[in-house]
């Protein structure tokens, strides 16, 4: 009935007859020998000489790859690309990576197992195996044991195969056509699938959009907004002083900041400016001075800033002899702790910025008391 016969099926009455036939049929070497039985038969794998499935190895390799991928991705995201300190933990805490590593390992492994089995090993897709539409299939799923010789090449000899099976004791013989492997990934199929997915997305998105638009109170997840928390500046009975916001513990130092200079201004006089006098440092100092100091001390440090008149204050004239003789440490101390009406700037300026401002103030002083040789350096 078929011009290109694909396999020849021989039916047996008992599993023992099937097992006995296998070696002789295999010895004929006419094609791949397959068995179809209603239930698993012990020892049939060995008798058919089936190779151990490579699926286990594939799953192991992909599982390990999944673990490495998850670790690498998390490490790169949280330790290299955008490191954020949460809960006082190092951004590269392996402990936090483990759950995701576990999940991705399972994901890679299961996908490899499922897809590898279906597509790589079982060579899907095709629409139906000829055995399933054979006459013998009702027997195979009930009380018959089938042995098939399947074609390996174009030169498959179905008559010889039928004879070999009959000689081995097969009671019935059936010749089957090749499986229908016509491609189904046609442009029509692809278009319809893509169109279906697109329509489904459109409908789902529209429904979601309208739901949120018409029922805005039905927020899907509001745990973050509704948690019992204290906003800044709110009163609270939780703490003794009635404030919701508490002052940091005495001696608290922000990350990246050094402790404020303690002690008196006289004690700070011995501090040495750790920064070199480079263009970059002066640029940092100039920027910080312009942002924080100029409104009072003035652009050239003479104590006449834009706010001076408005407040009627009397900021220090940094060009005065007193400040020309000041050691660097005393200026630094004033920046950190404030002096008289001047507030402390420890919170606004980092350690580097403070010392850069000291350098910049020195530069301003020098600019107002320039010597002849300074001009020579400036105009080489």
């Amino acid at each position: 009935m078929s011009e290109t016969s694909y396999s020849v099926l021989g039916l047996f009455d008992t599993p023992n007859a099937l097992m006995k036939a296998i070696p002789t049929v295999r010895a004929a070497k006419l094609g791949t020998v397959e068995a179809y039985t209603p239930y698993p038969i012990h020892g049939i794998d060995e008798a058919l000489g089936l190779r151990r499935s490579p699926l286990g190895g594939m799953v192991l390799v992909m599982g390990i790859l999944g673990a490495i991928t998850a670790f690498g991705a998390q490490y790169w995201i949280s330790a290299i690309d955008y490191p954020i300190v949460t809960g006082g933990k190092s951004p590269a805490s392996w402990e936090a990576f483990i759950p995701i590593m576990f999940e991705v390992t399972v994901l890679f492994a299961t996908f490899t197992a499922g897809l590898g089995m279906l597509f790589l090993l079982n060579k899907l897709p095709f629409f139906g195996h000829p055995v399933l539409s054979s006459k013998s299939i009702t027997g195979i799923t009930r009380d018959r044991y089938a042995l098939a010789i399947e074609a390996e090449s174009e030169s498959f000899d179905s008559a010889a195969a039928a004879k070999a099976l009959r000689d081995a004791g097969a009671l019935e013989i059936e010749i089957l056509p090749a499986p229908d492997r016509s491609p189904f990934l046609t442009s029509d199929f692809i278009l319809r699938t893509a169109g279906g997915i697109f329509t489904a997305c459109l409908v789902a998105g529209l429904v979601m959009f309208l739901t949120i638009k018409w029922f805005p109170l039905l927020a899907p997840m509001k745990h973050m907004q509704e948690q019992p928390r204290l906003n800044a500046q709110m009163p609270s009975t939780f703490f003794k002083d009635g404030h919701g916001m508490q002052l940091p513990v005495a001696g608290t130092v922000a990350r990246g900041h050094l402790p404020a200079a303690a002690g008196t201004q006289e004690a700070a006089a011995t501090l040495v400016n750790p920064l070199p006098r480079t263009k970059e440092v002066f640029a940092v100092g100039r920027k910080a001075y312009t942002n924080r100091c100029e409104v009072c001390h003035g652009a050239i440090g003479n104590g006449v800033g834009s706010l001076t008149a408005a407040y009627g204050g009397k900021p220090a004239n940094l060009q005065a002899q007193l400040f020309l003789d000041y050691p660097d440490g005393k200026i630094y101390w004033a920046i950190v702790n404030g002096k008289n009406a001047m507030p402390a700037h420890a919170a606004d300026l980092t350690e580097t910025q403070r010392w850069a401002v000291v350098h910049y103030v020195r530069a301003l002083q020098r600019a107002q008391n320039a010597k002849d040789e300074d001009l020579k350096v400036a105009n080489p």
Partner: protein, 387 residues
């Protein structure tokens, strides 16, 4: 048994008796030389080891009845005999109650004035602690009587009614088991540091106990097979034991890591101190060793299909798992003694004494009676089991 010449058996038991005697001298000497704290820590360690091994084995027996497993009938006698370790564990445990005032802060009189322990004083006090331990022992004996005693009796009566009785009792025993192993975990192990608590600690100890029971079962099966006994037990049975071992290494590390990660994340001082102690100094080395020996090594040793059937590989992994279980319990108990792990002649003497005793007990248990539950109607089906 009978096919073995008498002399090696006799020699072995002489060696074991010698080990017990030598160990006993060391144990007594360690009380005087190393102090009561270290003595009782060792004693509690071996009590917990015996108890968890016996309980883990009894759990395997109950599990087989619960799910009506047929494949395991031919090897069921082995966990049944291992479970009888609970009997010698009872006197050991009663003696271990003397450790309460020494090692367990909750049982000391100053606990009443401790702000945290005062609230737990009733639970941790010596009388109630002892009552709980006695109840746990009683429940274990009940489980042994029904599951093991009934099975031994079935050898002669061949009465299939036992299978129905055991299957009905098994679900109840699961509840009993959960209660007893949680009591052991909370009282004897986390009771050493009563300010620390972990809800999942009982499950952690269960995972270790089950693995220990499985490893001991596997070792005994391989040992008896090496002597030409347990005829009919084959690679298919070994494969199931290996697969159980493999699966539960993952379970143990899953629970252990879940406990660690939550405490590490939350970073509450009263919780995280437990790991702080175990990640400092030499304990850090032992912690890493525990993770490697209890999970990484056995996991990769058993990952392939053939390795779960290979007697040589299985024997090594089973030894490794038992060793890792000892290390696990040591790692839980000994940090209370100080910042440095103790390991010297007192620990060796205890190991000699208790290991010798355990092996003597198991030998005498395995010398008499049948190797398989010959009265079980499902024995044949179990022997015909194929993967």
């Amino acid at each position: 048994m009978s096919q073995n010449p008498m002399s090696p058996t006799k020699n072995a038991s002489t060696v074991l008796w010698g080990a017990v005697a030598l160990g006993a001298v060391g144990v007594l000497a360690s009380y005087v030389a190393a102090g009561p704290q270290r003595f009782w820590a060792n004693w509690v360690l071996w009590f917990v080891l015996m108890f968890t091994l016996g309980l883990g084995a009894l759990f395997i027996v109950a599990l087989e009845h619960l799910v009506n497993a047929k494949w395991s009938v031919p090897i069921r006698r082995i966990p049944e005999l291992l479970a009888t370790l609970l009997l010698p564990a009872i006197p050991v445990g009663l003696i271990a109650l003397c450790a309460l005032p020494v090692l367990y802060p909750g049982s000391r009189p100053e606990a009443a004035s401790h702000p945290i322990l005062a609230g737990k004083a009733f639970w941790l006090s010596l009388p109630f602690f002892s009552v709980r331990t006695l109840i746990a022992f009683g429940l274990c004996v009940l489980g042994l009587r029904v599951l093991v005693g009934g099975s031994l009796k079935q050898d002669t009566t061949k009465d299939p009614a036992f299978n129905f009785r055991a299957r009905k009792f098994a679900p109840a025993f699961m509840a009993i088991f959960a209660l007893v192993i949680t009591l052991v975990a909370f009282d004897w192990l986390s009771g050493l540091t009563p300010e620390w608590y972990s809800d999942i600690f009982g499950v952690y100890i269960f995972a270790g106990a089950f693995l220990g029971g499985l490893a001991a079962t596997t070792l005994s099966v391989l040992y008896l097979q090496g002597q030409g006994r347990l005829e009919g037990v084959r690679g298919d049975h070994l494969y199931n034991l290996g697969a159980f071992l493999f699966a539960f290494t993952v379970f143990w590390s899953y629970i252990g890591f879940a406990q660690y990660m939550l405490m590490w994340y939350a970073n509450f001082p009263d919780e995280v101190i437990y790991y702080k102690v175990r990640l400092a100094g030499s304990w850090r080395v032992l912690t890493i060793a525990l993770a490697s020996l209890h999970f990484v090594l056995p996991f990769f040793a058993l990952v392939t299909r053939d390795s779960k059937k290979d007697p040589k590989r299985l024997r090594r992994v089973a030894y490794l798992m038992l060793g890792a279980h000892v290390l696990d319990m040591y790692w839980l108990i000994f940090p209370v003694l100080g910042a440095k792990p103790f390991f010297s002649w007192p620990e060796l003497s205890f190991a000699l004494f208790f290991l010798g005793g355990i092996l003597l007990w198991l030998r005498s248990a395995m010398e008499k009676g049948e190797d398989m539950p010959v009265g079980d109607p499902f024995l044949r089906e179990g022997l015909e089991f194929r993967l």
